[in-house]
Every structure is written in C-alpha cells, then in structure tokens.
Symmetry: C2
Subunit: 592 residues, 2 copies
C-alpha cells in the first residue's frame, strides 16, 4: 500500500526561495519565517502521513454506508477527523475572531495539499466546510457569523454546498428547489439536491447546508436564485442544538472513486432556511464559494499527482525488470530496477515536473489571493480570477494524467486494487468533473475572463511573462533551457488570443471550439513561467552556497524536463485553435 | 445503462469502399461481397447488442467468485457463452479442417470488435482461446492439433496464455516455473503464474493452458524457456476427458475493471505438460501468440472507444443544459441538448474520428495479415510486424482517452457507477497495460522494428504514404484538408527517425527517451493516411451517386476534424524527441 511523505522541503523552497514570503508586503507574511512555516508543515505532514494516508485504502474499500437515515463513514475516519479538529487545522487560515489562527491562505493551501494527497475522500469533509465558511464570511450577517462560524471553524459542525439537482448541474437557471418566505423571516425549503459531498455523515454534531433555491419574485432563470442556510439541527438562541430540520439524506451514490466521502442525495421537505446574502443574489454568493472551491479542486489535481508519484517512484526503485541499455546498473541482482529505463524516467518526470510546477503555480496564486483579501489589491484579484479556470481545469486534467502515468509504471500490478495505485486514478478523475466540469472552466476563461476589465488582466498576465523574460535575458544559464521555450509558448498563447479576437463577434463558435486548447496552453505558459522562476531561484541559492545543493540541482533538472518535453504542447494547441470552428461545427447533429 | 448498436455501415464502408475486398487478390476475399459480409456483420451485431451488451454491467457489478476451487462467472455469462459457441462465432476465421469456417481474418477482426465493444470482460474468454489456437496452428504437431483444435475451435474447450509470474512480467528471462522431462516424453510443470485471464471459469468443459517454463539445458535467461500444453483435464486417446491435472486456481484478482473476466493466480504442481514447438524455443512460440494478441488488444482500445462514444452521444442528445451561443436550438424546451455546444462536439468528434480511423487502420492491417498468411506475402508480414506495436500502443492509449472524454460529457453523472460509463474507462485502462505495457510497445517499435530487415519496412511505410500523396496531389478536394496535414505529419515522423539515426549508437538513450513519442507520431500518421484514403473513397462514392450520401459526407467531415485537430500532435512529439536524452536522463536516480 502506498505511503505518503509530505513534500515539506519543496513547499519551503516555494515559500521562501520562490515567493520570498517574509519579504512580501502582504500583512501577516512577515511572520512566515522558515522555521515557523517549517514547524507547521512538518506537523501537518505527520498528521497526513501517519493518520490520514493509512486510512485512504480503507476508505476506498469500505466506502460509506447508509442505514436508517444515518451515514456511517469508514472505520477510523471519526478518530482521524477528531485529530484534525483537535489540532485546529481547519482554522489555520481563518479569522481569529471566530477561533481560527488567522494565518495566510498560502499556508492553508500547502497544508490542504498534504491532507488531500494523503486521503482525498476524507479531506473533502473539511474542504467543503472551509468553502462554506468562505460564503459566511463574505455574505453572512453578523448574527449568522456569530451563530455558525465558531462551531464551523472548529469543525464541531461541518458545511456543505447544495447546487446540483437531477436535471441541472451547469445550467442552474433550471433549478426547481423552492423557498417560501414565512412571516418570521425564515423560508420553507423544498426540493431535491444531488451530488452533495459530505451531505450526511457521522463525523460532526451538526451539518450546515448552504442551499440554492428559488424564492418568489426574482424573475426567470438564475435571477430568481437565492442562497439559504439550512442546518441539519436547528440552532437554539444559546447555541445548543434544537429540533431536527426537514432535510434528509435520500441515498448515497456509488461512485468511481472518493468512496470515503459520502456523496448524498439530499431531500428538503419544508426545511427551515435562512437567507444568506441578498434575496435573489444567490448566484453571486455561490460564485464566492465556487471560486475558492475551484482553486481547491485544482490543488486536488496535483495533490493526487504527488501521492501517485511517490508511490510509483518507490515501485520504480524496487521492482527489478530488464537491464539498462547502457550496461547493468545492478549487476549483482537478477535485473535492474525499473528506474534505469528512459521511458520509466519519462513517466516519473512527467509526474514530478507537473506536481512541483503546479504546486508553485497554486501557492503563487494563493499569495495573490492573500494580496486581494488582506490588501484589497484589485489587480491581484483580477489576475487570480483570470487564472482560476486554468488552475481548476488544467491542473486537474494533468493531475489525472499523472496518476495514470503512475499506474502505468506498475504494469499489470497497477491494475490490481490491492496495490492502491488505481485508487489515485479513480479519485483524481472527479476533480476534472465537479465544481464545473473542465469544459465549463474553458468557457469561463475564454468567454468571460479574457474580456474581463476590458482585457486588462490578460494583458497584465502577458506583461508579467514578458517582464520576467526581459529581466533575465542576460542570464545565460536560463536562456536556452527556460527563457526561449517560455517565449515561444507565450507567443503561441498570444497568437491564439489574437485569433479569437479576429474571429470575435462574427463567429463565437471559433473561440468556443478552441477554448479547451486555450486553457491548456495557458496552463503550460503558467507552469513554464513558474519553472523558469524556480530555476532562477535554485541557481541563485546554489551560487550563494545556500540550501541543499542536490535538491536545488534536481529542481533545475526537473524544470528543464518540463520546458523541453511539456511546453511544446502549445504549438499543437495553437494549430488546433487556428483550424477554427469548422472542423468542430461542420458535422450535422443527426450525422454523428 | 448504455446500449450498443454495431457499426455495420461503417465496417461495410471500410471493407468495400476503402479496402475493396472483393477486388483483392487475397485467396478467399472474392467471396466477401457486400451482402455476404453484411449478413454476417448484422448477425454478429445482434448477438453483441442483444445478448452481450446487456450483461456488461452485470459482469462489472458481480465480478467472478472463487468458491472451493471453482470460479463462478457472472449471471448470464454461461448462456451467452453457449450462444456464442452455438453460433460458431469462434471458428469464423479458423481453418475448416478443425471445424472453422475458414473466412478471412479481416472479418474475424470486425466481429471481434463488436463482441469487445459490447462486453470486454466477457469477450476475453473467447479472445484468449483464439490466441491459443493461433499457437497450436503455428507450432503444434499434427497430433496436438487433432487432439485439441476441434474442441477449441468449437469453444467446448477454452485456452489461456501463462507468461507472467509474481516477480517478472516483461522480463521473462527471470521466470521460475520449471518443466522436468519424464520418460514418457511429457514434462512435470511446477510453478506459479499470475494475471492469467480466463484461467479458471465455469464456461467450458476443459481449459487448455499454454505455459512458459524452463526445461533443463537451455541456457540462462530467455534461452531456457519452452512452451507447454497443460490441460485442466487430461485428454484420453479417444478424446474424452480424463483425470484432473495438477493445475489449480490459487486466487482471483480484484481489478480496476474487466470484472467479468476471471484473472487468476494459477498454481502448477507437478502438472503434466506436453512440449509444443521446439524445446527451448518458447519465446518464439510465445511471440506468435503475442503478435496476434497485441493486434487484438489494439482493437480493444477502439472497441471501448466506440461503445463509450455511442453512450456519450446518446447522452449529449438527451441531456438538456444551457443554450447554443448562436441562438436556442430547442426554443420550446427548458434548454438545448448538450450536443449544440462546441466543446461537447469536440469531445464527441475526438472519439468518433479516433474510433473510425482506428477501425480502418486495424482492418487494413488485418488484410495485410491475410496477405501474409494466405499468400506468404513477406512484405505484408514485415509491414504488419512494424505496425503491431503502433496498433497495440497508440490505439489503446487513444481508446482510453476517448472513454475518458465520453465520461466527461456526462458531467457528474459520469462518475456514478449506475450510469455505466465509468466502466468503459476502467475496462479500457487494462488494454494499455497487458500484452506488453505500452512503453514496451514503444521500445519494440524503436529498438527492434525500425531496424528490422535493414530498415526496409519503415522505408516501405514512408513510400506508401508518399505514393498516396503523389497519386492524389491533383485532387483539389483532398489537398488542403487531407494531403497537406498528412505530408506535414509524415515529414515530422521522418525527421524523428533521422534524429534517432543521427544519435544512433553513440547515445541509445536518445532513441529510448523518444520512443513513446515516436509511437504516437506514427499512430497519427497511420490514422491520417487512413482518413485521407477514406475521404477519397467517400468522395468517389458521392461523385458516383452511390451509397448513403449523409453517411459519406459525415465521413469526410469527421476526417477533416481528425486532420485539423489531431494530426498537429506530431509537431509536439517531434519537439520532445529532438530535445534528446538529456532532459530524461540528467536527473540522478537518488534525486527523484
């Protein structure tokens, strides 16, 4: 069974060598010195490796069980959840006034990756709670915050998001769940929601559902939608739990993966709900949750890649099969370890260069989120908003590919469930689908985010890439391996943007037909930029004689792989995009 | 639950418009007129759609059960197997002297695709038997053929291939199963084999195992290996079944997919075996089986893509979500069907253009196999040998991608097992792994097949592509959409080959580091060539006013998609290859 070791050294490199957090002007960052972040990451890593990872396969095998309206989580989940709660991990990056530790989001993201790598099904119980808390912070009244947040931050209570209904997921305008206003200011909520992660379980005292529903008078489609708080148990004025509310789990889904998480059908039958945020402003409130969730889902992509990488690396070092073409590497043994073979190294490096590049990209984005939250930095907010669909869509696609590559390294043994590697493939798969399927992310990017602010965020993005290249063009060590490929990829991306603009209004299908490829191109440019920055930072540390030289040299070598072997994908994506809408739209629907 | 409709029209187009089988000089092809092949394909399609497909999900849910040494296959499998046997389907392309119908392999391949699309786990019971028969035909003595083949052709008895052991799959030189010669000319076989598909089950009276084992005196490594016939029940001189042999199922594996097939651990304990083929010539005998099996596995790739495509197409037509950007397509309904959206069409066309291109490629290759078997055409044999790793590796990789795309179209519903689409993803995954993992296919292609015959087969391949382009360069309808991209892709492939040659002996890791990309490039060129040929054939039929015009126009439109959106991958693969061995080999093993 795969074990998991938290990549503390790599996270420390990103925080301190790449992002240089203590030198940043973001409030709270000055405290993030190396020994402080190191201590937190080590501690979280222990919990992840020692407590959560050993439960990963148990969660996969046992799954969740619904009996008489009660959902039983897999053996050991409750104790692990208690350990997570008692360690105060959920509150790490949440406001102190509600019991959190008020540390930056960038640190919460790093810790969240560890928990997700170790046990994705389990970590969703916390992740959804964290997302729901975000909605309370952004849209809740002072009363609502005071009533719910302390218990949710401490994870005595957990949270959920209720969007999807059987007939509508993406197209929420069609939703049918109704909210009838009552004289006391509450609403009666009635309807059915599906795919509700952590919708019902035995881990917490109460579950606070955030539910999208239509209240009268809001107009058709998404305009009529509002967001409601529907607690499983009503909360008395003194904070104690009151009567059971009219919400029940109808079923739990049988899924391809994340079996440890209870994905529920939730039935609302005259449940008492409280409006959160503005009446008929539910879509806006939902997007607040959704944006943070999407970045969290992008993280799931590389978190699974990291876990799968570690497992396949261990296997490639142990399994003896064949001989290195350049001469036996293990002449005393019956064969050489798999890792001597170039094609095995290719698959390992695809995973490693992706996971490390994605981690840098996401932690960099988390820093931008900290800037936007802690400094009201509108430019940072705009940039993160632009990149959110890339983080979600690109990182989950590539994370899945990485898990598939890890499984491939195992050969036939990878197909056997007892090895545990198939689980990473099956678990990673959901991240491409939920919180807006990746095709929707591509549409969001091309149809909405490119044009946002009159195009100023995408221009700022290109300026950032150009500025980096310009600033470093005198650096001979960076030029061939990093700057040249980055320049080429960035040029491809700009050409694709120009193509969309030229087609523009007269043929919207051209942009929509190329949106997915654009998202991938942009992902490669982002990871390419991160790798170029990491290579520079690693070289600087080597030049200064600081840090672990072997680690720093590996960082540069891994980056070279990414630039040489992954960045050329942008040319392919550009060619596809420039073929326009015709190849995609020409076939009659009936002729498929 | 997905249903399955056999693509008879497309197969007929390939057989008659593309391959023009009745005009071919291959013995037996003259009989393959349209009504004859149509009748057979319709009949096979009915069995696939009406009998096998409804059992697909049952097989997935129930799996196989081992009780007291007996393996029980899922409910309904026995009746379906009887139907397959009674219809004589296994013997379709097997020699008449052993009870077969003696029809060409090209037809057997088309029928095999249907069974595999409908139920991959089930079809393996027959597929393995067919492969074992191939080994008997090539290497068995007259006596052995007479004893075993009639019952195996009729499928009263099934067959297996026993290669893998716990510590060795690819590297068979390490195998430990021993064969001790006895005075009566038989051998005592002792050892353990794993991953034995259809190793034990309740579908047939007897199971004939073909087992690789080491007999004394053959030298080290693979040189000592021989192939043995080890029947589950010994066969009496009169053909009746005798005593149980010393072979037992030890366990059945819990796998990610193909649950309907019993993948067994087989324990041989002084089992009686008969040498088949030459003593210490086991590797050669195994490759006879293996080559046909590999083409069969490539077929599994697109067979799963076809089944997943049909399911996702039906879903995309039914599921209402969102509106077409160019105006509502279903204004009376609450939303438009998914298929109006360009990104959904992209995913459908990726599947469709792959499945149809792969089918054409494989049936074309099957025709070459018929040439080689029926006419001793050495050039055809050489070409198929060159392309076998491409068929196996490329078609299974892309088949898996297609199944993943199909699942993506379902959104969240695709992750729920009840929908049945996850099964295609899980089942298709094994085809990338077994019969030589795809990395091994790439090594076989680049390390062995390119240089075979002094490079004459790869030269013949390039000549074939060039000849087609030259022959048609006056055809304005083909030029831009088909010939130009084919020429570009073929040039990329040649450049990659030149790069390998230039690096050649001085740096074998350069070729090995790029082998996987080369295999994919070559796959794209092959499918590009097939699409160009199909477009020409479709246009010719349209010009002649023959056939179903809507189908023929769809064929051309689908081909245009493939050329515009898939062929540009060759540029990316070339860039990766030309980056050489350094990015892959530079990182120290300890620094991963």
């Amino acid at each position: 069974m795969p074990s998991y070791t938290a990549p503390v050294k790599d996270m420390q490199f990103i925080l301190h060598n790449l992002l240089n957090v203590t030198a940043s002007d973001v409030p709270g960052y000055a405290d993030l010195d190396e020994s402080f972040t190191g201590a937190i990451l080590e501690e979280a890593g222990k919990l992840a490796g020692d407590v959560l990872a050993p439960l990963n396969r148990i969660g996969d095998i046992e799954g969740c069980r619904l009996e008489n309206g009660v959902v039983h989580t897999p053996k050991g989940f409750k104790a692990a959840f208690d350990a997570l709660r008692e360690g105060g991990w959920n509150g790490l990056d949440l406001p102190e006034e509600f019991g959190g530790q008020g540390l930056p989001y960038v640190l919460g993201m790093a810790v969240g990756e560890m928990f997700t790598s170790a046990n994705m099904g389990f970590s969703l119980y916390q992740g959804l709670t964290h997302g729901a808390i975000g909605a309370f912070l952004a849209h809740g009244s002072e009363d609502q915050k005071a009533t719910y947040l302390p218990k949710m931050v401490s994870m005595e209570w957990t949270g959920t998001m209720n969007l999807t209904e059987p007939h509508c997921g993406t197209d929420l305008g069609m939703l049918r769940t109704r909210a009838e206003p009552q004289e006391d200011g509450t609403y009666r909520i009635t309807g059915q929601k599906i795919f509700i992660s952590a919708g019902e379980h035995d881990l917490s005292e109460n579950i606070i559902h955030l539910v999208l529903a239509k209240a009268p008078g809001g107009g058709p489609g998404t305009k009529g939608i509002s967001l409601f708080i529907v607690p499983k148990f009503l909360v008395n004025p003194d904070g104690s739990l009151g009567a059971r509310n009219g919400v029940k789990v109808g079923n739990i889904e049988h899924k391809m993966g994340i079996h440890g998480n209870a994905t529920c059908v939730m039935n609302y039958d005259d449940a008492t709900g409280w409006l959160i945020g503005e009446l008929h402003g539910g879509m806006r409130a939902m997007f607040t949750m959704m944006n943070e969730e999407r970045i969290g889902v992008g993280m799931q992509g590389y978190a699974q890649a990291e876990a799968a990488y570690q497992a396949s690396l261990a296997y490639a070092r142990e399994r003896l099969q064949g001989r290195a073409v350049t001469g036996a590497a293990n002449p005393e043994g019956p064969a050489d370890p798999l890792i001597v073979h170039p094609d095995i190294r290719r698959m390992l490096l695809e995973q490693k260069s992706f996971a490390e590049g994605a981690r840098a990209f996401t932690l960099w984005a988390a820093q931008m989120i900290d800037r936007s939250h802690r400094m009201d930095d509108a430019e940072a907010e705009g940039l993160v908003s632009l990149l959110t669909p890339v983080i979600k869509g690109f990182l989950t696609d590539k994370g899945f590919d990485a898990a598939v590559a890890a499984q491939q390294i195992y050969g036939g043994h990878g197909y056997i469930e007892e090895q545990g590697i198939s689980q990473f493939v099956r678990d990673a798969r959901i991240a491409q689908i939920y919180e807006g399927a990746n095709g929707i992310q591509a549409l969001d990017l091309v149809g909405r985010k490119l044009a946002a602010g009159g195009g100023k965020y995408i221009m700022a993005f290109f300026d950032m890439v150009k500025a980096f290249i310009k600033e470093n063009e005198g650096d001979a060590a960076l030029k061939e391996g990093f700057l040249d490929p980055l320049k080429k990829a960035s040029k491809d991306l700009q050409a694709a943007g120009m193509f969309f603009m030229a087609q523009g209004m007269k043929n919207p299908n051209a942009a929509l037909s190329g949106a997915y490829d654009f998202m991938h191109m942009m992902g490669h440019v982002c990871l390419g930029l991160m790798w170029a920055r990491m290579a520079r930072a690693a070289q600087a540390a080597l030049d200064a004689g600081e840090g672990d030289a072997e680690f720093l040299r590996a960082k540069i070598a891994t980056g070279r792989f990414y630039m040489a072997r992954q960045l050329p994908a942008t040319g392919m994506h550009l060619a596809r995009i420039e073929s326009g809408a015709d190849p995609v739209m020409a076939l009659d629907e009936a002729a498929f």
